[in-house]
Subunit: 268 residues, 2 copies
Amino acid sequence: MKLTADQLAEFEEEGFLFLPRVFSPDEMDLLNSQLGRIFAEDRPEVIREKGSSSPRSAFYVQTWNPVFALLARHPRLVEPGMQILSSDKLYMHQFKINAKAAFDGAVWQWHQDYATWFNDDDMPAPRAMNIALFLAEANEFNGPLMFIPRSHRRGRLEAGHDVTTTSYPLWTIDNATITRLVEEGGIVAPKGPPGSILLFHGNLVHASGSNLTPWSRWILYLSLNRCDNAIRRFKRPTWIANRDFTPIEMLPDGCLLDYRRAVATAAQ
Amino acid sequence: MKLTADQLAEFEEEGFLFLPRVFSPDEMDLLNSQLGRIFAEDRPEVIREKGSSSPRSAFYVQTWNPVFALLARHPRLVEPGMQILSSDKLYMHQFKINAKAAFDGAVWQWHQDYATWFNDDDMPAPRAMNIALFLAEANEFNGPLMFIPRSHRRGRLEAGHDVTTTSYPLWTIDNATITRLVEEGGIVAPKGPPGSILLFHGNLVHASGSNLTPWSRWILYLSLNRCDNAIRRFKRPTWIANRDFTPIEMLPDGCLLDYRRAVATAAQ
């Protein structure tokens, strides 16, 4: 899956690119069939909401679930990253599913991901990015990602370490700066069905609201980094800031449905 | 301002009616010029968000601000209530401004207002309703009101008294019931500029999300009740559940701008 020159230009300009329906309903069924068991696991990589047992995030899932292991090497996710980051040597800095559970999903405050990668992990440059795959529909009500377009052009902004608002510590940006950025760029929230993907720059300022609806808003995030931009501080566990810098080798485009067929055959 | 037969039928069917731009920008400027001093007041009628000094609500404002006193008798708000409730003898059960401040506005959980009016105030029947006036733009990002269309047809639903989630105690509806209602009716969030009004049934199930944006979402609420349906328990203070059942006498349609002219003349 190659991005066009126009799509690459749009990413440069706006800081993000939304592509609806990149994965088929059959592929999404296979992925979603794994979520129940993933979030039922009692292990450090599975984070709960503050004051409840609702799932908030599951980290490093590519190492402990065989289906998500395929997705971490899927060409429809990895190849656009190679194009945007101008390198075919990328590794997986972070791989997580964010739940934002029905009725209980809390906010993510305004932040840049690169602020965390810099402050916590000593990543040299913002040559890393996120690729989000919607596992469930994202709509206007269930706490979709909100972006401030073009905010990535400001570089890394001052941030403070918020360790109280939610169960996950985050380097967040002050209200005066957000007000100024929103005056210039506004806010957008790309919405779409399961299987849509959303690519965004490591310096794009983003947040997401609460989810009071019966609709859980599951999103998978790949944080891809150039191998020549690997982190230099190992403060966070490897499941949250990966220390394995092996370049990703892509699998064939049909790997998910091939896997499903193989499992079905083996069961016969 | 008379509602048409079609508008009355829509209200009956859906449980709400949205009318954009009912008040002019000049009228809205006058109202909004009062908000700073209203929320600066240190008095019991002004409620703050849990754990912060951001304003959440100001109650009974018609008794302590001269401009909002006019609004409590404004024909563009009161006359539609008379039509829908089929009575020209209405009194003001509650009159409040909800702030949902920029960056800090917390959620309102799913609830029916009549549940509170019944449980706390012993209001005999759901012959009361809300009229919301947008003092600021309501958009998809700043925590707009969310309705479950047609949920008012279920009558009063079981509710539990939630005294912990926010700074304001509320009779809220359980998640299983909300899931069922949303499967049938979906969710809508009417959006529009300042001066728009939103009429909704006392039994319509509604909620609103957090506000992470720089845009405060101010809404004025009139809760109108038929004088022959007055409350019979006086557990809550009169500023939150009014004990003055005097029928509202409407003012002329131009009362707001007449007031502004009179003040300007007096200042000369």
